[in-house]
């Protein structure tokens, strides 16, 4: 039988005409803080809830953000037939972005891996010392795509750290820009294997 449109017969799922646009908002919280849903009734671990001890920090004015992963992939090469398969392992997931909102230091210190801040009004001190490699965060990155009804997608990363070297550009007549920030999500062995790095979720009552 001829396929007039080229559509395969049988059950076919097409994608939706909903387009996500722009950067999500990025929130981070100390890894020691329990997640908001830990787990929820469906056994998924996600969400942040701020406390006096463990504030949730909103990362301000993001630009050039992207979400990617680090992967080890090795082809199964048979010398007589060629590559029969590729074995893959996820090493990490990673958010890369720049920020233009650099204050207060009490938030910036985490993004640039500086030391604990001290405030003695009207001064806030941010010491630059060795990097604390034991400092991890949860990250929650929601993107609302329908403000009217609150439909959103979100990326939850269970255990992240800010890695790699950053650069703060200080151009004349333009805002400072901290570039090269990388928030790397590691495997969290305290989580179920299927959610080891985190999860993405979508809330949309009209279709789900």
């Amino acid at each position: 039988m001829a396929l007039i449109t080229g559509t395969p017969p049988g059950t076919v799922t097409s994608m939706e005409d909903i387009y996500l646009e722009g950067a999500p908002t990025i929130y981070i919280q100390n890894y020691e803080a329990p997640l908001w849903f830990s787990p929820d009734v469906n056994t998924f671990y996600w969400g942040l809830t701020g406390t006096a001890t463990y504030n949730v920090f909103e990362v301000g004015c993001i630009s050039d953000s992207s979400f990617s992963e680090g992967l080890t992939a090795n082809d199964v090469l048979c010398d007589n037939v060629g590559v029969k398969d590729t074995v893959q392992q996820r090493n990490f997931v990673e958010f890369s972005f720049n920020i233009k909102s650099l204050l207060p230091f009490s938030t910036l210190r985490y993004l640039l891996n500086f030391g604990a801040v001290t405030e003695a009004s009207p001064i806030e001190y941010m010491p630059m010392g060795a990097i604390n490699n034991s400092l991890y965060f949860h990250a929650w990155c929601p993107k609302v795509y329908n403000d009217d009804v609150g439909d959103y997608v979100a990326i939850m990363l269970h255990k992240v750290k800010f890695v790699d070297a950053w650069t703060i550009a200080m151009p004349f007549g333009d805002q400072w820009n901290a570039a090269g920030l990388k928030m790397r999500g590691f495997a969290d062995s305290t989580m179920p294997a299927a959610q080891r790095f985190g999860l993405m979720l979508r809330s949309d009552a009209s279709v789900i």
């Binding site: 908002t25 006096a52 909103e58 301000g60 909102s101 009490s106 405030e119």
Partner: protein, 100 residues
């Protein structure tokens, strides 16, 4: 039946036939507590000099608690950190301290 006069605290209005007699009682003076316990929400050390007493308060980090002279507390409770959200999330500046 006894009725209370709402304009005078701790008073009792006695109805004596046609005439009302207001009997004044001793007013209760509420003393503010000498100190209040504040918890820091600021993610770092905060050093505050009391605006009234000049006392020096050192909060060692988020979640740390101190007894603060009640005269110094109001000014401390006004302190905020962080800005209004730049990205539409509606996050407001966070109070440095909360009363516990």
């Amino acid at each position: 039946m006894e009725k209370r006069d709402f304009t005078v605290r701790n008073s009792i209005v006695e109805e004596d036939d046609d005439k009302e007699v207001i009997i004044e009682e001793e007013r209760v003076k509420l003393e503010p507590p000498a100190s209040v316990r504040l918890k820091s929400q600021y993610p770092g050390t905060v050093i505050v000099t009391g605006s009234v007493t000049g006392n020096r308060y050192v909060f060692s980090g988020a979640g740390s608690e101190l007894e603060v002279n009640s005269n110094d507390a109001p000014k401390m409770l006004e302190k905020r950190f962080g800005g209004n959200s730049c990205c539409g999330s509606g996050v407001k500046p966070t109070p440095h301290f909360i009363v516990i």
